[in-house]
Amino acid sequence: MSGPLLLILAVAVAYLAAHVAFDWLARRYLIISGAEYLLLGILLGPQIANVLSVEVMASFSPLVTLSLGWVGAIVGTQFHIPSLVRIRALSYRVAFGEATLTLIFVALVELAVMQWWLGMGESEALAPAVALGAIAAVSAPAGIGIVARHLGRRSALLRQLEITTAIDALVGVVTIGLLLALRHPGDMAVSRPITPTEWVVISLAIGIVGGAMFQLFLGGERDEDRLFISLAGAIILTSGAAAFLHLSPIFTAMVMSATLVNMSGNRAEIVRTLHSSERPFYFVLLIFAGASWEPSLLAWVIPVLLYLVARAVAKAGGARLAARVTGTLSALGPHWGRALLGQGPLALALGLEYVRMTNAPVPNVVFTAAIAAVLLLDVSSAWMVHSVVEPMTADADRAPRTAGDAS
């Protein structure tokens, strides 16, 4: 049977499995689906069944780039400045504090591990360490949504968790975007070499200029079908341009869509149109992430294990420290960082970006860490959110104002 057909069958089976089994599990036991697609990708990939061979994977490369761009565009829609300014600065301090602490802590741990365990030089180890820090910063938002629906109510802690996952995504995507720009191979036909700083500016410029131009292109279009055509063209063009220049499609698409939603008068329609089509792209991404995975050698087990431990410590400790420094510990609770342990598909997208980076050192260590974290943590991420939010919600019922600081 041909690769594409098997891929389609795989998606169909995974999709049915997700709805027949995981949907029920999600409703009843707060188990999030997604990891099953990743697992399916691993099973079908070149390492096990070789149904999705290296050639098949290469032929679907544009689709993966497009999926990365689509994911980036969806992340970007969260950053509508007029909506963001309505949230108290304290919430951002907590969120940025947690994300930055996680990024720095995991990056430092991995930098040390790679030098000590893998015998890499400092400059060589820096890129994978920073990439792992960026991936570690990312948290899954799906569990929060499920718990909110399960509890049937909103709370200050849930709102803070939503803000934090958005900021986590921003920190992760920006870090990877900068990493790809700063480590650009410089293989362009230009009169003089482009400096890393200029590549960063080019990355941003593609997103900002693209967003501004597409805003003018879309005008006041409100019909979702017409918007879909234009948005698909815009995302494909932006991610294609970024991939062509060896820059990050997620980052440029995120900047593009953030610019678009801030400049456009039809933000709600744009967001709705993008979200209505996100699931196919997530499925593609998860399956390809699984199939792209090359199991690590024994030597790589330690960095991966340490990544999991360091991330758990950084998320729990960083969140607690950020809350303590900003004086919101009583409102958020000492264990609120546990709710951020789920990784989500964005982590895999960032891992894929790193793997696709030209001359990326130890790509499989980074990717294995991302996959391991998703497989181990995502299934239980809603539980973890629930275990944190429910007691705090009960407390808030008793003392309604204690969490007010965090909102």
Partner: protein, 447 residues
């Protein structure tokens, strides 16, 4: 105008990016870049042409010609080949949507006029094109120097492909205008049935031709068994696929956008593996879903149309890009003669068929105008001829592509005029602005 200016700026930006290429880039990122640009370009030109009352399909084709190898060269022949899967996906989507437009009760009620008009126009077009080619054989590159029997056989082979219509254009027009009246439905029914007839006729004639005109190619032509399987297998596979979709719609009915894409990919891939006709397979599947379920497939079709919208735009833009104006100009007199003769024969055939079957006045007057466009299956059949006859097949393909190019540009305009004159769309501008590209079908009729 605003979109056109933005498009020009995007084009400039893209050219700047592409100029940075040292030649060591992966083609996939370049293809993606061009794909995105083509969607926006075709969409913009499609919007612009509505200002002069032309169908959007014509705008998409014009964008393809403008940015294709014949003019600005943004889309290269290599990119067209790289984007071939998008065209295949489009063909599958079009076929499924077209199949779902056909309702058994309606087909049964219209069977007599449909078959009568189709039979008459196919026979007349076939005979007229053969007569023209034989008469003008001195000017037809692939017939020069051949004795009469071989001239007749090759002319018949050419004519068997030249009589084909374009379900893609008809579907796109119906989608754009939401026309659902008797002329629209008769036109759709005729182009779909004609495809089956043409595949059968072509396969039979190719087998005859291979006996009469020996080929230097090693590839064998289709045997009778192969033709039978291509048709019968398509019915079997399409029915099975349609049944599976109907079950899904009954018991699961979720994530329809994703399901629509999976169905289309799966259908075309399984048809390719089973060596059956993709178009016919998906058409049958769409027909089974629409007619085999109680509430039809309106929701699935809407999801399909959502995913089809950008694919349609690119499909027609790619078809436009594939038109090599230089080749058309080289043989334009004979190509134009074929176009005119074919169009007149279609018109006469429809008149005769309509009178014989006592079809409605609107169908008699306007259906023929919707049958002029050509694409899709025709291009595939020409490729088969080129494979069987490398030298004369290539000359035949050049002439045929020139004919298709003219019909492709002329067809949508005539189709739209027909729908407008028959009163199945209101004023052009009004409908254009309010309807495109959502092609959600109406609920099944009560008939």
């Amino acid at each position: 105008m605003r979109r056109a200016i933005i498009l020009l700026l995007l084009w400039g930006g893209m050219e700047l990016l592409l100029s940075l290429d040292k030649g060591d880039h992966t083609t996939s990122s370049e293809t993606l870049l061009i794909f995105g640009f083509l969607i926006l370009a075709a969409y913009t030109v499609g919007e612009i042409v509505t200002l002069v009352q032309l169908p959007k399909v014509t705008g998409y084709l014009a964008a393809g010609i403008l940015f294709g190898p014949s003019a600005l060269g943004v889309v290269s022949l290599h990119s067209i080949a790289e984007l071939a899967p998008v065209s295949r996906l489009a063909v599958a989507l079009i076929a499924f949507l077209a199949g779902a437009e056909l309702r058994w009760t309606e087909l049964r009620d219209r069977a007599k006029p449909l078959l009568s008009m189709l039979g008459a126009e196919l026979v007349l077009s076939f005979a007229a094109i053969i007569a023209l080619l034989v008469a003008a054989r001195a000017y037809v590159p692939f017939l020069t120097g051949l004795p009469m029997p071989e001239t007749l056989v090759l002319s018949a082979l050419f004519a068997s492909v030249a009589i084909v219509h374009s379900p893609a254009v008809v579907m796109a027009l119906l989608t754009e205008t939401r026309a659902r009246g008797p002329v629209a439905r008769m036109t759709l029914g005729m182009v779909l049935v004609a495809d089956i007839v043409v595949v059968l006729l072509f396969s039979g004639l190719l087998a005859v031709t291979r006996t009469a005109v020996p080929s230097t190619a090693t590839a064998g032509g289709p045997s009778l068994g192969m033709v039978a399987w291509e048709i019968g297998g398509s019915l079997l596979v399409g029915t099975a696929l349609g049944g599976a979709i109907a079950l899904y719609m009954r018991f699961v009915k979720r994530e329809l956008l994703l399901f629509a894409i999976v169905v289309t990919f799966f259908g075309s891939e399984i048809a390719r593996l089973a060596h059956v006709e993709v178009l016919l397979t998906l058409l049958v599947a769409g027909f089974v879903v629409e007619n085999g379920t109680r509430q039809g497939a309106a929701e699935l079709l809407h999801a399909m149309e959502r995913s089809a919208a950008p694919v349609f735009v690119v499909f027609f833009a790619l078809a436009g890009a594939a038109i090599i104006i230089r080749d058309v100009l080289l043989i334009w007199p004979i190509a134009l003669a074929i176009v005119v003769v074919r169009a007149l024969a279609i018109g006469a055939g429809c008149q005769v068929g309509a009178r014989l079957s006592r079809a409605g006045d609107m169908e008699r007057r306007y259906v023929s105008m919707g049958l002029v466009a050509q694409a899709g299956v025709a291009i595939g059949l020409v490729a088969v001829i080129s494979e069987a006859y490398p030298e004369r097949g290539a000359q035949m393909a050049t002439l045929f592509l020139a004919v298709i190019a003219i019909n492709q540009l002329l067809g949508p305009v005539l189709s739209r005029i027909a729908l407008k004159k028959s009163g199945e769309i209101e004023t052009g501008t009004k409908v254009q602005l309010s309807s495109e590209p959502s092609l959600a079908p109406e609920p099944p009729s009560a008939t």
